[in-house]
């Protein structure tokens, strides 16, 4: 992370109370998940270490973003603000744990920050309230322009206390027509933080740029661009501002779309019509050694890899309607996946977390619109994620498999929406103007 010049674990815990006899840090998973199920967090306001405007403003942002980040995974409970305000303010160096115990907190997150010498310094300490024992102590320093990124980093560090990997530093790429004009109805790629903030435009060619997919290292995107007149795959190295054209080596008037990297980043699945019909192909990450995986005259499209990379799901209308099918990465052992969830299924997204054996996809479950659904491999049960939110499509999983992002059209506008994997909570990301669609959740 370039922005955070230094992330250091504080060498010694300030002597809150005499450290218990020298012992290994407690097994953290057990504390949060085992010993304390859905532990109750107190996240009091960040305490500025200087009283200047910059330090106070940074602290306000840190508090707000850290609270939102910690709530996102729905793993914890939180002491309400009214109770936080009922006790004396936090002394971040020496918290009075009895106060925090008194309002039912099990875990206390104490944050301090200051802006000095054009640098933002943040310290985060996480205490087990019952014992006063520090569980985590981190100091972050870096450029002060984006305090949100400090909070995201701290949240992901706190999530390391659980068995789930946080996603607060992840980003989402999507397609927007916000910069289109009547003369140039372009679609460009944009990247936002997982919470919809900090939008950045990636492509600037005023053509159609669609179907973006992250390379697993997070440093590049593969996408489809029409900038040379027909759809071809491009690789955008986002930190260098460079692109590689025609990654799949289309010749003549063959075209390619629906690219997707394997989880190890070594293979690229895509769709090409170079053999006379739209088929799923696989190649090296640089497009070398392409092999045709499907050979029907039907429309075979939209491949996605399993978490191991051994299997590929895709869409085919070989039986008359678009349905999800499975095959191995050699194109063998082909079998149909969706049988009971409507007559139009497309856009697979395999949950990257191996403990969830499931695929999200776009299904036409009711006449007219589409919804996001998830099919469980073991039971073949389909659970509907969206309902009555307009037409939703193009699902992509968070890297830890606990949330989905997709786009929904409501009131004639496409917007990026996030849901947890059970479909209980929804959040529309305020990514900016225009139609915003085709999201892919990156590392």
């Amino acid at each position: 992370m370039a922005l955070l010049a230094a992330v250091t674990t504080l060498a010694a815990a300030p002597a809150v109370r005499p450290p218990a006899a020298r012992q290994e840090p407690p097994p953290l998973d057990e504390i949060v998940i085992g010993g304390l199920t859905r532990p109750r967090f107190a996240v009091p306001e960040c305490v500025p270490r200087r009283q200047d405007d910059a330090s106070q403003a940074a602290c306000r942002t840190l508090t707000q973003v850290l609270r939102a980040d910690l709530r996102f995974e729905d793993l914890f409970q939180f002491v309400p603000d009214s109770l936080l305000n009922a006790i004396p303010p936090l002394n971040p160096q020496a918290p009075r744990f009895d106060d925090w115990k008194g309002i039912g907190a099990k875990i206390l997150v104490a944050t301090q920050a200051e802006v000095a010498n054009a640098e933002l310094q943040v310290e985060v300490r996480v205490y087990l309230v019952d014992t006063g024992q520090p569980m985590l102590q981190k100091r972050y320093s870096g450029r002060p322009e984006n305090p949100r990124s400090f909070a995201h980093q701290a949240s992901d560090d706190i999530l390391t206390l659980t068995q789930y990997k946080g996603v607060a530093r992840t980003r989402i790429v999507f397609v927007s027509d916000r910069d289109a004009t009547k003369q140039r109805p372009s679609k460009e790629l944009y990247i936002v933080d997982y919470d919809g903030f900090n939008p950045r435009r990636v492509t600037v060619n005023s053509s159609l740029n669609i179907l973006p997919a992250w390379r697993p290292d997070g440093a590049a995107l593969v996408y489809v661009s029409y900038r040379q007149g027909s759809p071809m795959l491009y690789l955008a190295k986002i930190f260098e501002g460079q692109s590689v054209a025609n990654l799949s080596g289309e010749k003549g008037d063959s075209q390619a779309f629906s690219p997707s990297f394997s989880p190890d980043g070594k293979s690229l699945a895509f769709v090409s019509n170079r053999a006379g019909s739209t088929d799923v192909w696989i190649a090296g990450a640089d497009g070398a050694s392409p092999r045709r995986l499907t050979t029907t005259q039907a429309k075979d499209t939209a491949p996605c890899f399993s978490p191991t990379g051994d299997e590929i799901a895709f869409t085919s209308d070989r039986t008359g309607t678009p349905q999800l099918w499975l095959m191995d990465n050699q194109g063998l052992n082909v079998r149909r996946l969706t049988v009971a969830s409507g007559n139009y299924n497309d856009g697979c997204a395999w949950n990257p977390a191996k403990q969830y054996s499931e695929i999200a996809y776009t299904a036409r479950l009711e006449a007219g619109g589409f919804d996001i659904a998830v099919i469980d491999f073991a039971t073949r049960q389909v659970r509907q994620i969206t309902q009555g939110r307009g037409s939703c499509e193009y699902a992509s999983w968070a890297p830890n498999g606990r949330h989905l992002v997709f786009s929904c059209e409501r009131n004639k506008r496409w917007e990026i929406t996030i849901a947890d994997r059970e479909g209980r909570f929804f959040q529309t990301l305020a990514t900016g103007p225009g139609n915003n669609a085709q999201p892919d959740w990156g590392p």
Binding site: L189, V271, N273, T315, P322, G368, E393, Y394
Partner: protein, 196 residues
Amino acid sequence: MPFRKQSRLPVGFVVLAFLVLAAACSGKRPPALATATPGEGGSAADEARARASAQPLEEGPDVRAVEGEGASGSDIPGSGLYPGEGGPLADIRFDYDSAALSDEARATLERHALWLQGQRDVRVTIEGHCDERGTVEYNLALGEQRARATREYLASLGIAAERLRVVSYGKERPLEPGSDDAAHAKNRRAHFNVSR
């Protein structure tokens, strides 16, 4: 669609008769056919626009860096690529979720073939488009199938395949922004971008 129904069969026959004839005299088509009426009236301006819009974009930056001090980009000046309805060759329409050519579409393509026979230096990019009632990815495949079916029929009418390029736009560039049946019908189409 404003095509006159009564003209469909005769034009088809003319094309077929012509093709048989052309095959018989093995090669040169009479230049008189250059004046054959295109499928739908296209003014010189329409044609010029179609020609302009088929030009590739100028080379320029493609992506820009999102962080750090990497290269930054700027918009490429130049023509848009708006695949409207204009141009010398009228669009053909398709049924929902179908790439099958209707009788009406075939009749239109037969007129297009006749015109193309007379315009030997014309190349055509056939764009396959879909209405919004489908998913992004499946619609790209459907648009490809529509464009390819269109090309195959034109090729069967004697138009050299090298002159015909197919591009699928899926539902990414609808002609009509509306969501009613009329807009959907207009958007399920093959569009012809003509260049020389």
